[in-house]
C-alpha cells in the first residue's frame, strides 16, 4: 500500500433505487415505499497502475458501484475523487482532460456492447471523433488500425460489422474502443464472464499486457474468484451493498477475515482435488428489498451474536486492508485453515 495519493478514492458511496409501486397504487393499497439500497456506504481506494478486484454474488451491488464510478449513475450520498478532484463538482463530461474523459468502461455482454448497425471502424473511432483527439480522416483510420493491432486484431477488421466476430473478438473491439479515449482508468464489469475458458485466458492476458504497456489502472468486477485472484493486486468483497472486506490479494485469499469471504472461498469448486474439508454453505443471499437489520450477513453467519443482529459493523482497519465484522473487532473470530495449504 503506497503512501502516494490514490488515483481513485470513494468515500461513503450510496446509491438507492426507488422501486415503489406508482403513487396511485400505493395510495389505494396502502403499500409502503420500497427502496433498493444497491450500494450502501462503500469506501475504497485504488492506486495508480494497480488492479482493484471487486467480487460478490448477485445483488451485492458491484455492477451498480461500477456504474457509479464511471458516472452512469449519480450517488445519493458520498463522494468519488479522481486524482483528488471530486467528480460531482464538474457537471459536464466535456473537455479531453476532465476526469470523466479519462475513465472508460468495458461491459460484460460482448453481444450487446457493440452497436450492431455500425462498422467496427466507426465504433472504435467514436471517442476519437467526439473528443477531437485526432484530426482528419487519414489520422483517424491510422489510429483505429493501431488500436486494432494493439488488441490483437487486424486493421482489415475495421470494415466489418460486429456480428461477423466471435465473443472474444468482440470483447477485444470493446477494449479497443475503450482505449481510443486514451483513458487512465478502466472499469471492467465482468468482462470475461460471458466467454469460454480459453477465450477468457486470451482476454485476461491481453488486459494484463495492456496494463503494463500503457500504465492503466483497472477496477475489475467479477463473480469469479479465481479470475479475480489472477488479475488483482487488491481485492474487495461486497455483500448486499456493503464492502465487507478488502485487502491485498494474497492476504485476502490466504487469510480471509470476514466470515462471508471465508464462506465464498470454501464454496469454490475444488479443481485441485485436494479433498479439503469444507464448511457447508448456509442459506442464500437475501432480497435487497428487505435486507436483514444490523450486519446483513448475520442470518448465514456461524459467529453472529446479538450485536450483529442489531448494529451495522464499522470498518476495522487491518494492515493492508479493512474488515467490517463485529467478530473480528471483538477478537472472537477463530483462525482459518489457509486456503490451498
Amino acid at each position: 500500500m503506497s503512501e502516494a495519493a490514490p488515483l481513485l478514492e470513494a468515500n461513503g458511496l450510496k446509491c438507492h433505487f426507488d422501486v415503489s409501486a406508482p403513487l396511485l397504487n400505493r395510495l389505494l393499497e396502502h403499500q409502503p415505499r420500497q427502496v433498493v439500497r444497491a450500494v450502501d456506504g462503500v469506501s475504497f481506494r485504488i492506486d495508480k497502475g494497480t488492479t482493484f478486484g471487486l467480487v460478490g454474488e448477485s445483488g451485492c451491488g458491484k455492477s451498480t458501484l461500477a456504474r457509479l464510478v464511471v458516472g452512469l449513475y449519480r450517488p445519493n450520498a458520498g463522494a468519488i475523487r479522481f486524482e483528488g478532484v471530486d467528480l460531482a463538482a464538474g457537471t459536464a463530461r466535456t473537455g479531453s482532460k476532465s476526469p470523466q474523459a479519462r475513465m472508460q468502461m468495458i461491459f460484460q455482454n460482448p453481444y450487446a456492447s457493440l452497436n450492431p448497425r455500425w462498422r467496427v471502424a466507426d465504433i472504435i473511432a467514436e471517442p476519437l471523433r467526439f473528443r477531437n483527439l485526432v484530426h482528419g480522416r487519414a489520422a483517424v483510420s491510422a489510429r483505429v488500425a493501431e488500436l486494432l493491432r494493439q488488441v490483437g486484431l487486424s486493421p482489415a477488421d475495421a470494415q466489418r460489422y460486429p456480428h461477423e466476430f466471435s465473443g472474444g473478438q468482440r470483447q477485444r473491439i470493446s477494449i479497443a474502443r475503450a482505449l481510443a479515449g486514451e483513458p487512465d482508468f478502466l472499469v471492467c464489469d465482468e468482462p470475461t464472464s460471458a466467454l469460454d475458458v480459453s477465450v477468457q485466458a486470451q482476454i485476461l492476458n491481453l488486459m494484463k499486457d495492456l496494463q503494463r504497456r500503457l500504465g492503466l489502472t483497472y477496477l475489475f468486477i467479477s463473480h469469479n474468484l479465481a479470475v479475480v485472484y489472477h488479475v488483482s493486486d487488491t481485492v474487495g468483497v461486497m455483500y448486499l451493498g456493503r464492502l465487507v472486506e478488502w485487502a491485498d490479494t494474497e492476504s485476502l485469499f490466504r487469510r480471509p477475515q470476514h466470515p462471508y469471504t471465508r464462506m465464498l472461498l470454501d464454496a469454490i469448486p475444488d479443481l485441485a482435488m485436494t479433498g479439503r474439508p469444507r464448511t457447508p454453505v448456509a442459506g442464500e443471499v437475501p432480497s435487497p428489498l428487505d435486507p436483514p437489520p444490523g450486519c446483513a450477513f448475520h442470518p448465514r453467519c456461524p459467529f453472529a451474536n446479538a450485536r450483529c443482529r442489531s448494529e451495522v459493523p464499522q470498518d476495522t482497519k487491518l494492515p493492508g486492508g479493512a474488515v467490517a465484522c463485529h467478530a473480528v473487532a471483538e477478537g472472537r473470530l477463530p483462525a482459518w485453515k489457509e486456503y490451498g495449504a
Binding site: 452512469l72 466535456t94 474523459a101 472508460q104 468502461m105 450487446a112 450492431p116 471517442p127 467526439f130 474502443r177
Partner: protein, 304 residues
C-alpha cells in the same frame, strides 16, 4: 460495386425472397404498377386529365371484347368519355403518391415521437403516449374526414382543390402515426438499456445524439414492415375518401373516384367502370401486403 452486389446475393434476405414464388410475383406486380403509374404519360393510350381531349360521344363505351367496344378504349370508358385503362394508370399514380407521402409523413412523425418518448421517458413519454391513446380512440377515416372538412371550410372550396392532395396526405398521415410511435417506443425502451448505449454515454455523448445515431438505426427494422402494410391501408383510405367525395377533386380522379363514379352505373349495366379499378386496387393492395408479410418474416431472426 461488385462486392455490394455479391453481398446482396449472398444475404439471407435475398435467399428467402427467391424461395417464395408468391413473394416474387407480388414484387413483380407491385413493380409493374409502379412503372405503369409513374410512366403513365408514356404508357397510357390517352390522357384522361386533359379535359380538352375528352369527347362525350365516347362515353360509356364497353370493353373491347364486348359488342360496341372500341379498340381505342381497351377497357371501356366512363360517363365523361375517359378511357378506363388510362384513368386506372393515371389514377394509380395519385393513389401511390398519396399513399407513399402519407406513409412517409406518418413515419417521420411517428418514429420521431416514439424515439423521443422512449428515450426521454418520464413526463414527456407519458404525454406523448396519452396523446397516442386519445388519437387511437378515433377511427382513421374519421380523423381524415375531420381534417379534410376543417380545411375545406377554413380555406374555401376552390383553394382547397388546388392543395387537395396535400391536405389528403396530411390527414391520412396524421391518422396513422400512432402505430409507428408505439412500436418504436417499445424498441427504444429495450435498446436504451443495452450496453452499447451505456458505452456511448460513458464516452460522453449527449442524449439526443445517442438517440439519433445509435438507437434509431436499431429500431427501424419493424418500422419498414409497418410501412409496407401501412401503404396498403393508406391507398385504401384515400380510395375511401375519394369514394365518399372528400378526397381528390373530381377532375383528377384516383382509383377511388373511379369506383364511386362506376357505382352509379352498376345497376344500369355499365359494370366495367367499377370493376376494373376495384380489381386494380385489390391487386395492388394485396401485393403490397404480401410483400410486407414476407419482409416481416424475413427480418425476424428467430425464423431464419
Amino acid at each position: 460495386m461488385n462486392g455490394w452486389v455479391h453481398r446482396i446475393r449472398d444475404s439471407d434476405l435475398y435467399w428467402s425472397f427467391t424461395r417464395s414464388k408468391l413473394v416474387v410475383v407480388s414484387a413483380a406486380i407491385t413493380l409493374l404498377f409502379f412503372i405503369g403509374a409513374f410512366g403513365a404519360p408514356l404508357v397510357a393510350p390517352h390522357n384522361p386529365f386533359d379535359l380538352a381531349s375528352l369527347e362525350l360521344t365516347d362515353a360509356l363505351k364497353p370493353p373491347v371484347w364486348i359488342d360496341g367496344g372500341d379498340a381505342a378504349f381497351l377497357l371501356g370508358t366512363d360517363d365523361q368519355g375517359r378511357d378506363v385503362l388510362s384513368t386506372i394508370l393515371y389514377g394509380s399514380r395519385i393513389s401511390l403518391v398519396v399513399g407513399f407521402l402519407s406513409v412517409l409523413f406518418a413515419l417521420v412523425l411517428g418514429v420521431g415521437l416514439g424515439l423521443v418518448a422512449g428515450y426521454a421517458g418520464g413526463m414527456v413519454d407519458a404525454l406523448i403516449m396519452r396523446l397516442a391513446d386519445v388519437q387511437l380512440s378515433f377511427p382513421a377515416i374519421l380523423i381524415a374526414l375531420l381534417i379534410d372538412g376543417i380545411t375545406r371550410s377554413v380555406i374555401g372550396q376552390d383553394r382547397h382543390s388546388d392543395i387537395a392532395v396535400f391536405v389528403l396526405i396530411v390527414s391520412i398521415g396524421l391518422s396513422y402515426w400512432v402505430h409507428y410511435a408505439r412500436t418504436v417506443r417499445g424498441s427504444v425502451l429495450v435498446e436504451r438499456t443495452k450496453e452499447y448505449v451505456l458505452a456511448a454515454r460513458v464516452i460522453g455523448l449527449p442524449g439526443p445524439l445517442i438517440a439519433l445515431r445509435h438507437v434509431l438505426p436499431n429500431v427501424m427494422g419493424p418500422v419498414l414492415v409497418i410501412a409496407t402494410i401501412n401503404l396498403a391501408l393508406a391507398v385504401i383510405t384515400e380510395a375511401t375518401l375519394s369514394f365518399l367525395g372528400v378526397g381528390v377533386p373530381p377532375t383528377e380522379p384516383s382509383l377511388g373516384t373511379l369506383i364511386r363514379i362506376g357505382n352509379n352505373f352498376l345497376f344500369s349495366g355499365e359494370w366495367w367502370i367499377t370493376l376494373f379499378p376495384s380489381a386494380a386496387l385489390a391487386v395492388l393492395v394485396l401485393s403490397v401486403n404480401l410483400l410486407g408479410d414476407w419482409l416481416r418474416d424475413a427480418l425476424n431472426p428467430k425464423l431464419r
